[in-house]
């Protein structure tokens, strides 16, 4: 199914950028010359494809180029979204402290909805991955001590319905 809309019109995205990303986003082949087919499809040399990837990284359209890992399969079975109720005036300061923990892979500030039916006072989200539930709880405790944020909750994922990575 085609996505609806025109990413070409988005910020600094040329038609060529889009073509490159679309031909790479499902992953490269595991063979000696992984770009050879893509290059010939796009009428480019393999080196030009690689240079285009570097250019997209420089322009920050691509955050990184590399492997997406199924963390559960390699032993990081526990994945906890820790949600925090951080006073609005402290979000910047607290966000920086939380981000400094190497076990935290994501740290985002989001809107809160404290009223029913949502009852959701949490505005800061951190993601941690670990090999045990206790390890996640221990990390939350350490982050709480460092930030003095006491109202928080660990939400573990119990099933993965989908994980495809963002496609455009």
């Amino acid at each position: 199914m085609e996505n609806i809309g025109n990413y070409e019109k988005a910020y600094e995205m040329t038609e060529n950028d889009l073509k490159i990303i679309r031909s790479l986003q499902d992953g490269i082949e595991f063979e000696s010359n992984p770009y050879s087919k893509i290059a010939s499809d796009l009428g480019m040399t393999e080196q030009e494809v690689v240079d285009a990837i570097k250019n997209l990284i420089d322009k920050k359209m691509i955050r990184r180029f590399g492997a997406s890992i199924a963390h559960r399969k390699i032993g990081f079975v526990y994945n906890s979204m820790i949600v925090w109720d951080v006073p609005d005036e402290k979000t910047k300061e607290v966000g920086k402290i939380m981000a400094s923990f190497k076990e935290v892979s994501h740290c985002y500030e989001r809107p809160r909805f404290p009223d029913p039916p949502y009852n959701w006072p949490y505005n800061m989200f951190t993601m941690v991955h670990a090999t045990s539930k206790e390890e996640c709880e221990e990390m939350a405790k350490r982050i709480s001590d460092a930030t003095k944020i006491k109202n928080y909750k660990l939400i573990f994922s119990t099933r993965e319905f989908k994980k495809t990575g963002v496609r455009i």
Binding site: K9, I62, R63, A67, I69, K73, I74, S105, P111, K153
Partner: protein
């Protein structure tokens, strides 16, 4: 550790030897950007290129590696994104999860152990498309939906360090 090809532990965790672990650490953050990336890895780890490729194929076939490719920066490409939580009663989880999975704009979808229990991420070219999808989910099921677009991003650095 010796292992049979294709063998998986009961827990679902894949058996990996030291070389597999080195390869996985390497290809997450420092995948070589060259026309012959697997040769570069083979030179660095001092094992034949053919072996690097065979090991990668095995790790992919067992599901440890999903793909090697670009991780798109959703904040930069100009589209619109959000994290969504839905409060779904136990008996209806399968139906709601399947309905959500059918959207190509959904990149992650998880069941989590909280009141708000289905969590998914949406990426679309514009906010209108996101509103449309959320409205469709609302119309179909009527459950409370938390629409939580990013206000500030303090960190995104996913790396699984295999020791």
């Amino acid at each position: 550790m010796e292992m049979e090809k294709g063998e998986i532990e009961n827990s679902g965790i894949i058996e990996m030897d030291e070389i597999d672990k080195k390869i996985i650490n390497k290809i997450q953050l420092e995948f070589p950007l060259s026309t012959r990336p697997f040769r570069d890895i083979s030179n660095e780890l001092n094992i034949p290129e053919e072996e690097v490729i065979e090991r990668l194929k095995r790790l992919k076939s067992l599901g440890a590696i999903r793909r090697i490719g670009p991780i798109i920066n959703t904040r930069k490409i100009g589209g619109s994104n959000t994290l969504v939580g839905v409060k779904v009663p136990e008996y209806d989880i399968e139906r709601v999860a399947e309905f959500i999975n059918n959207y190509t704009e959904v990149s992650h979808n998880y069941l989590r152990d909280a009141d708000v229990n289905i969590w998914f991420t949406l990426s679309a070219p514009n906010r209108e498309r996101i509103d449309e999808i959320l409205q469709e989910i609302k119309d179909e099921f009527g459950y409370p939906i938390l629409d939580l677009p990013t206000i500030n991003q303090y960190k995104i650095q996913v790396y699984f360090d295999l020791k």
